[in-house]
Amino acid sequence: MPPRTKRGAKLIVQQIVNGISIGFVYAIVAVGYSLIFGVLRIMNMAYASIFTVGAHFILMFITAKWGMVPAVIATMALTGLVSVFFDFAMLAPLRSKPGGTGTTVLITAIGFNYVLQNLCMVIWGSERKSFPNVIDFGTIRIAGFNFDSTQFVITGVSIILLIILSWIIYGTNTGLGMRAVQQNTKAANLMGVNVKRTITFTFFLSGITAVIAAFLVSSYYQLVYPTMGVQLGSKAFASAVLGGIGILHGSVLGGLIVGILECLSVYFFGGGYREAVAFIILLGVLLVKPTGLFGKKANTKV
């Protein structure tokens, strides 16, 4: 997805600002991945399509003349359900099977991702559809720079979302349960944490997060199409891995770094190779320290 517009002289700062706002979007999606990884130790390969479905649902409601706010709220509920359904119908049955290896879960998630994405295509068509930008309040001038108000809103909403998520995870009992399951599922179970309900809640939460990200991205680029999740998913993955997957503040930092580096690369190398930046970062992280910036090395027990 290309950058929207180019400003005048102070391009680098401008690109950093661009990078921060898109970085926050990557951060939100990366957090979505981290939530699931934290609780289930799996990479949710279906997340990109959940994001896409969210965007399409919002557009569907808007087209049916709903207001943006009710549309987003309804979509959050629906998409949360889709996310929960994914776990309930696809992943949970594999958990109870003996020897449910990582490969089985991985392939199931790839399959579900594909199904969802193509359902979007079949139901709503594969062409790019325009999406209204309701968070555009014009250009804001600060210290001689022109800023897009959309970016401000994106940054603001992201920060608020992250604060809320942090509060849920670190400030509530449910969040405590999530962290307990993350550390040691068996022990959490024995301590009275309802593991199933915690997992379901985590999926619902990650679904909601996807919807917010979908709203922000669709507003910014004013486009919705079935493969929109693919690139975003890859970049958010790279962000999560960079920060240390499963670690919330890692995902946030990772997203920002990827976003900023990506936009800076546009300035230095032109727009064409932008998509490769996230991958190069990913490859670099996997080469040097696969557990990411904040991750800890696990020791294999023989």
């Binding site: 879960v105 991985l106 199931t108 193509n118 079949v122 990913l282 996997l286 294999t300």
Partner: protein
């Protein structure tokens, strides 16, 4: 599913040999009784996907590493071939060879750092790699012509005779290629390399502790996989005569994975039958054509849930064939050499 029943019956060796001969005869004579070029094209397409499935089978089926990178390696092979062929006048066979090698190098570059990581990271890396290849194809305009793509890709010329789809030549090239790839798959499977890959899939740590250099075996498998996919890309480019950055999509990688899973990881027959069924069904069941991608995704989900070994996995998985001259004591039939009853 009647088909499933048929595939499950243990057919006696002689009967299966006869079936094989008949099949071979049909395959070889196909161009002579096909109703029009379209049919032959589809058959060639199926064959190419069978080759792709066999290529992925080495990494995913034998070694258990799920990869979504086959389309990317196709692209590398195809583009290398096309560039050499159309812009530098290199003939089909040498250009195809170079295409394979470059795809192999790409496989090495991607595989070396990423194969030592766990499965999920590896899948992500291969998916990302696909995106990068597409970006390079789009932007390296001087080499690849960017979004315009490369047209008029040449076809194989054997002794001055051009092999096209119309004269059945491309079909035969595909058939020969498929035979070669089947042999390669079989040769690997029944060697220490194949056993090592299988062991790695079962328990990598234990394999390491038995002296297997798991990293180098995984990388080698991946490189071979990439080279075969690159070759399939060459065949594909030669068949369609035009490629552009969006020709080799993630959809293709997903379909190839679907064939491998459906056919049964590790089963050579499964790859071929899987390709036949999964590529032809949108042609036969026309009404399903728009939904075919959903079907592919559903197959992945359902297979993992209900039959992870695939349709043909586990059936007729032949026991180890004892090499000639190996002596055994007190086997039931009195010192027999080959263990199969």
């Amino acid at each position: 599913m009647k088909l499933k029943k048929i595939l499950n019956i243990r057919i006696s060796e002689r009967v299966s040999f006869i079936i094989l001969l008949v099949l071979l005869a049909v395959l070889i004579s196909l161009p002579f009784f096909t109703p029009g070029q379209y049919f032959l094209r589809t058959a060639t397409n199926i064959g190419i996907y069978a080759i792709l499935a066999l290529s992925l089978n080495i990494t995913t089926g034998y070694c258990g590493q799920v990869s979504m990178g086959q389309a990317a390696f196709m692209a590398v092979g195809a583009y290398t071939f096309a560039i050499l062929n159309t812009m530098h006048g290199v003939g089909f066979f040498p250009a195809a060879f170079v295409g394979c090698c470059v795809a192999g190098v790409a496989g090495f570059i991607l595989g070396m750092p990423t194969l030592r990581l766990s499965g999920a990271y590896f899948v992500i890396a291969t998916t990302g790699f696909s995106e990068v290849i597409k970006v390079i194809a789009l932007n390296w305009k001087s080499m690849t012509n960017g979004a315009l793509g490369i047209k008029n890709i040449g076809r194989p010329i054997v002794f001055g005779f051009e092999l096209t789809n119309a004269n059945g030549g491309q079909y035969y090239i595909m058939l020969l290629s498929l035979a070669a790839v089947i042999w390669i798959s079989y040769a690997i499977k029944t060697s220490k390399f194949g056993r090592a890959l299988n062991a790695i899939r079962n328990d990598e740590l234990a394999s390491n502790l038995m002296g297997v250099n798991t990293s180098s075996q995984k990388v080698l498998a991946f490189v071979i996989s990439a080279m075969l996919a690159g070759y399939a890309g060459v065949l594909y480019a030669s068949m369609t005569r035009y490629i552009e950055p969006n020709t080799f999509t993630t959809d293709m990688s997903t379909i190839i994975l679907c064939i491998v899973i459906f056919g049964g990881m590790g089963s050579i027959r499964g790859m071929i039958i899987g390709a036949l069924l999964l590529i032809s069904f949108p042609e036969i069941l026309r009404f399903m054509a728009t939904y075919r991608f959903i079907v592919y995704g559903l197959i992945l989900i359902l297979m993992m849930r209900f039959r992870p070994q695939g349709m043909l996995g586990g059936v007729g998985d032949k026991p180890y064939k004892l090499p000639k001259g190996v002596k055994r004591k007190s086997y039931e039939q009195g010192g027999g050499v080959n263990g199969v009853t």
